[in-house]
């Protein structure tokens, strides 16, 4: 139920500005419905008039009075009613098509805007695939439902109400006869839909498991082949595949059976109406013409009667998906934004010192990662963070850029807490080079000037030269205008890192954080990265998160972290002399013989 409320709130937010469109469409639909339900009465009247005409014409005494003009007149109205119907439906669906396209467009952009405002924490705790699915399948489901269901639901409701009114106006007995089978149909529909719901859920679960298995196995095909496990894999597959066959059969039958059942009910209903209508015509007090007309009209109604119910049941699944979709997107909408102080000051680099002061931090409440870390950095110094995986090195980087905020203690530039700075201004002062750099679709030049799209080509080339990637770029046929896409990369992992360094050099940050790439880089590229890093570090206050010690031997200060605490601090020589954890680490990595 809260699902429904959240979904309602979501749609209200995005659709309320289209209220005029909705009111006009609803009015138009009401009018078209009136046309559709009234039109058969004119057809009935035409038949009645024709019967009268034929009767008069057959009788020589009245033949002279026989006239077709009332019949013709009725027919013109009949046709005009359908013209009215077509026109109004056309305008209504035009309006709704516009509303659908533009409101889902706004939803899409709204979701993206939200994404840009949200805290990094959300992205770290949700898989990319899950967030992406909200942009793709959830928004798709909403679009499909609005595109198809909006008009149909309005139409179905209007038609149903209109039909009831007209039927009771025409003939109360026949109206009741037409409606007689409704309870049976509704019970059947409810039962089948409930069965279908559980069966389809089971089917989706099984399909999910099968697809998961296929994905895992085929992605690991190299392991299967090198271990000769293909037949085992096939046997495992067959189990899942047969399970899907079984549950999907039930799912497909139950969800597929509703439509023929309802169609059958409609057929049955028509038969009942004909049966009773003709009985009424023969035994009732009506004239033959009138009775005939009644049968014609009600046969038409009986055929229409189940259509709204049928379209509502066939749309049920779609609407269900749209509700879930809205709930999932609304969930994102309610995530907290990044905290940006009102009228925050703008830092001007680091004039004297950067201080990480007694910082405590935890990603999850109760699971503290940093336990009171204090680091003093003088302007222009290079600080290296060293320590085993999970020691908290990367966390420090997350805090300096305010991807996360400290729980206790503070980080300050020249004594000013970074949380009082304007968030964007702070980040413009801090440059980071990530371990796994992300490139964006566009040209190489676009990627290098990512942080400053207005930068001139000279500055781009200059940054590339400092990052040791210029020669490689020049060797490509389109040079700086070569298109980059993250999927089919022209860059190796090492070259990507160089690109990312170039990108950072161009923005000329005052404080620099370098997260060194770990593996997958051969020694020659590694040397290039080293040189590029030396270039970028020069003259800047910098933090280097090091995985290979030889990168940081020249650091002004090496901070050794272990389990969220600083255990050693000093220069390379000092730490070697101390003969502690660092010295051990160093000997393990560097000694060849």
């Amino acid at each position: 139920m809260s699902d429904l409320r959240n979904a309602g709130r979501y749609y209200w937010h995005y659709l309320k500005k289209y209220w005029r469109g909705f009111i006009i469409s609803t009015l138009l639909i009401a009018f078209s419905t009136w046309c559709i339900v009234v039109a058969p009465t004119y057809l009935g009247r035409a038949v009645e008039q024709l019967t009268t005409y034929l009767g008069q014409w057959t009788n020589p005494a009245t033949r002279a009075q026989a006239s077709l003009s009332p019949f013709n007149h009725t027919l013109v109205i009949y046709v005009l009613l359908y013209v009215g119907d077509a026109t109004t439906i056309f305008i209504a669906s035009l309006i709704l098509a516009r509303v659908t396209a533009y409101s889902t467009g706004t939803m899409r952009v709204g979701l993206f805007r939200k994404m840009q405002r949200m805290q990094v924490k959300y992205f770290d705790t949700h898989s990319d695939g899950d967030i992406l699915a909200r942009f793709t399948s959830d928004l798709d489901n909403i679009f499909n439902a609005m595109n198809q269901a909006l008009l149909e639901v309005l139409l179905a409701v209007a038609q149903f109400v209109g039909l009831l009114i007209v039927m009771f106006n025409q003939n109360v007995t026949m109206a009741w006869v037409t409606m007689a089978s409704t309870p049976v149909a509704l019970v059947i529909a409810a039962l089948v839909m409930r069965k279908a719901g559980t069966a389809v859920n089971q089917q989706q679960d099984d399909i999910g498991r099968l697809n998961g298995y296929i994905n895992e196995q085929i992605t690991g095909q190299k392991v299967l082949i090198t271990n000769g496990l293909q037949q085992d894999s096939f046997r495992g597959f067959e189990t899942y595949n047969n399970q899907v066959r079984k549950s999907a059969l039930t799912g497909q039958i139950w969800s597929g059976i509703l439509n023929p059942l309802m169609q059958g009910m409609s057929l049955l209903n028509t038969a009942i109406v004909i049966f009773f209508g003709s009985w009424l015509a023969l035994n009732g007090s009506l004239s033959k013409g009138a009775a005939l007309a009644l049968v014609v009209v009600f046969v038409n109604y009986a055929q229409q009667y189940y259509q709204p119910i049928m379209s509502l049941t066939s749309l049920y699944g779609m609407i269900q998906l749209a509700i879930t979709g809205a709930r999932r997107i609304d969930e994102v909408r309610n995530q907290p934004d990044e905290v940006n102080p009102v009228a925050g000051s703008h830092p001007d680099g680091i004039q004297h010192e950067l201080k990480i002061d007694q910082v405590h931090f935890s990603y999850l409440p109760g699971k503290e990662i940093l336990h009171g870390v204090t680091i003093d950095v003088q302007r222009g110094e290079m600080v290296a963070l060293v320590g085993p995986t999970g020691s908290g090195k990367t966390t420090v980087m997350n805090l300096l850029n305010r991807f996360y905020d400290v729980d206790q203690g503070q980080i300050s530039f020249d004594g000013t807490d970074i949380r009082t700075f304007d968030l964007n201004a702070l980040r413009q002062n801090v440059g980071i080079v990530l371990q796994e750099p992300q490139l964006f679709t566009g040209t190489i030049a676009d990627n290098i000037r990512y942080g400053d799209p207005a930068a001139s080509m000279d500055r781009v080339i200059d940054a590339a030269k400092q990052a040791n990637i210029h020669d490689f770029i020049e060797s490509l046929p389109d040079r700086y205008l070569t298109r980059v896409s993250d999927e089919q990369s022209i860059f190796s992992a090492g070259q990507k890192q160089l690109m990312s360094i170039a990108r950072t050099i161009l923005t000329n940050p005052r404080l620099l954080i370098l997260d060194e790439a770990t593996s997958n880089v051969d020694t020659v590229t590694e040397a290039k990265i080293q040189a590029a890093m030396d270039n970028v570090i020069q003259g800047r206050t910098s933090f280097v998160i090091a995985h290979r010690l030889k990168t940081i031997l020249n650091a002004d200060k090496i901070v050794v972290l272990k389990s969220g605490r600083i255990i050693e601090q000093g220069t390379h020589a000092e730490l070697l002399a101390e003969n502690g954890f660092y010295a051990e680490l160093y000997r393990n990595q560097m000694v060849f013989d």
């Binding site: 516009r98 396209a101 993206f112 003709s278 009775a291 005939l292 995986t389 992300q438 679709t441 031997l553």
Partner: protein, 574 residues
């Protein structure tokens, strides 16, 4: 379609029942207006008996219709799921028969899409096919024939109606096809921007590019919105035109009946049934149109499935179930290899020999062909020329089972399958007991963390083994690699995520416990291969040097360079 025929044949009975029930359903639908006409005539004639009799017949017909519809659904589902399951099974068996090069040619993710989405498309179209595709032409032809029989003079009304409808659809579909193509492109653009921003959210934020990214996204999104709106507009006009045309046709028909009622008085009773037939023709055309677009997608999917089924594995093994391992001495004789689709060979004229039980280290820059060389030993590919022998036998002459029993290959990106640790180990050595697992885990330095897990060897491995760290994954992969005590063990940068200390411990344990195993170690770090009996230096796919660490330090300039880059800083710092 030809692809599906053999599958339909397997479900001959279900197919027949599904088709028969469609015919029953169509008959019930089409005959009703006919009976109605008889009833109406009887009313005009005051013939009570006929009215009762035909009325009951009508009820019977309706029940028949329901039965037909229900049975049709059940049997259509049986056929659709039977065909889809069998097709999926054959497809999977085919993929499992592929050589690795074939998997790469298609790409794993592409094969997964074919196994899932494409099969699903086919399943849906088969289901719809037996429910609708057979029904629509039958309904269409039946309604057309009956309409003409009912009022033969008015055949042209039907023809004109259909001409207008088809003309309108033709114009609209032409337009919309163009727009649909454009939506695909626009959706892709939107997704690309989203994906990049998701993965690079830290980059976006640290460079303060949120506003620009929103601009970029809005641009892509607005284009998509505009095209969807256009498609919507075309749809908006299509449906009203269809129904207006059909209702105008009804008007014209009734008018004509009126003008000639004195010639054909019986038509008075036929008006309602004629209208029903007209509407059924209309519905058949509309549904037919929808199904055509639906079917065209399924045809594409079927083509993609067939492409896989028609591919012959590019590699075959000699017959034989012999799984006896060979002796582990390996030699390469003038081996040259080019990846499918490349024009430059990755390996050129590579020759060397390693004695059984020895250790070979391979070093070289990224792209020098280290992994390729290792993959040729495991016969993931065959060389263009030259030959590779294990235990003196050309690898192409070794039965698959024997080869797999001889060579164990541990990849840099370690893949474990979801299940338990034990299940992963038993895949390679089905008779593995706890003692075997303990031994292997000890060598790989994995015991230390496995023993700390509450379920130990029965601990679950989640999908993408995300419940283990990179280093733990690699240690588990090494455990799996050695559990069968292979004759040949290839470690392809398999210790890259291990810290130096653990790596050293693994090496020492292997030296101690796997003395008979020939070990091929690919490494970035010289420290990893410094104790190898022989080190092979690869440079752009050629052997630049082979020898011990000391030999190469004296003689090989490339090796010296690699050594210097790894050593230099240390000396500089001293």
């Amino acid at each position: 379609m030809k692809v599906l025929m053999p599958y339909f044949k397997r479900y001959r009975v279900d197919v027949s029942v599904a088709l028969l029930s469609v015919i029953v359903l169509v008959f019930a639908t089409l005959w009703q207006p006919r009976l109605l006409q008889v009833v109406m005539t009887a009313i005009i004639k005051d013939d009570q008996q006929t009215v009762m009799r035909e009325g009951l017949l009508l009820l019977g017909l309706a029940v028949l219709g329901i039965a037909g519809g229900v049975i049709n659904t059940i049997y259509s589902a049986r056929v659709a799921l039977g065909v889809a399951t069998d097709l999926r099974s054959d497809l999977y068996a085919k993929i499992q028969s592929f050589a690795y090069a074939d998997v790469e040619t298609f790409s794993a993710s592409n094969l997964v899409v074919r196994m899932t989405n494409d099969i699903n498309q086919v399943q849906q179209i088969v289901m719809a096919g037996f429910q609708q595709i057979t029904r629509i032409p039958l309904l269409f032809i039946g309604a057309l024939v009956l309409a003409i029989v009912t009022m033969p003079e008015q055949w042209w009304v039907i023809v004109v109606m259909m001409a207008i409808i088809l003309f309108a659809s033709w114009i609209a579909v032409g337009r919309m096809t163009k727009y649909f193509g454009q939506t695909q492109q626009d959706i892709e653009n939107v997704n690309t921007v989203t994906r990049e921003n998701l993965m690079g959210i830290r980059v976006v934020k640290s460079f303060v590019q949120e506003t620009n990214e929103i601009k970029k996204f809005s641009h892509a999104s607005d284009e998509l919105t505009a095209v969807t709106a256009k498609i919507g507009y075309w749809f908006s006009i299509l449906m009203p035109i269809f129904f207006l045309t059909a209702n105008l046709a009804v008007g014209v028909a009734v008018y004509l009946v009126g003008q000639n009622i004195t010639v054909h008085p019986s038509y008075l009773a036929a008006i309602t049934s004629f209208i029903s037939y007209l509407m059924q023709i209309l519905y058949a055309v509309i549904n037919g149109g929808f199904l055509m677009t639906f079917a065209s997608r399924a045809v594409i999917s079927l083509g993609r499935i067939n492409e896989v089924l028609a591919t012959q594995p590019s590699m075959s093994y000699v017959e034989g179930d012999d799984a006896t391992p060979l002796v582990g001495d390996i030699s390469f004789e003038h081996v040259t290899f080019t990846y499918p689709g490349d024009d430059q060979p990755t390996l050129t004229d590579v020759s060397f020999h390693i004695a059984a039980g020895a250790m070979l280290g391979i070093v070289g820059a990224t792209g020098s062909g280290k992994t390729t060389l290792a993959q040729l030993i495991a016969r993931l590919y065959d060389p263009d020329s030259g030959r590779i022998t294990i235990g003196g036998v050309d690898v192409r002459q070794i039965p698959e089972k024997a080869l797999r029993a001889t060579v164990a290959y541990v990849l840099q990106r370690s893949t474990l399958f979801s299940g338990t640790i034990a299940a992963n180990l038993k895949q390679v050595r089905p008779d593995a007991e706890l003692s075997h697992m303990r031994w292997a885990a000890n060598v790989a330095q994995a015991s230390e963390f496995i023993e700390r897990l509450p379920e130990r060897y029965e601990a679950p491995v989640e999908e993408r083994s995300q419940n283990f760290s990179g280093g733990q994954k690699q240690r588990l992969a090494i455990t799996r690699g050695i559990i069968a005590n292979p004759e040949v063990l290839i470690l392809d940068d398999a210790t890259s995520a291990l810290d130096a200390k653990s790596e050293k411990l693994v090496q020492e344990a292997m030296d101690r416990d796997l003395t008979a195993t020939t070990t091929v170690v690919i490494a970035e770090k010289i420290a990893s291969i410094i104790r190898a009996d022989q080190v092979l230096v690869l440079d752009h796919g050629r052997v630049s040097g082979i020898g011990t660490h000391q030999d190469l330090l004296q003689t090989n300039s490339i090796y010296q360079k690699i050594y210097q880059t790894q050593k230099a800083r240390e000396e500089a710092a001293k």
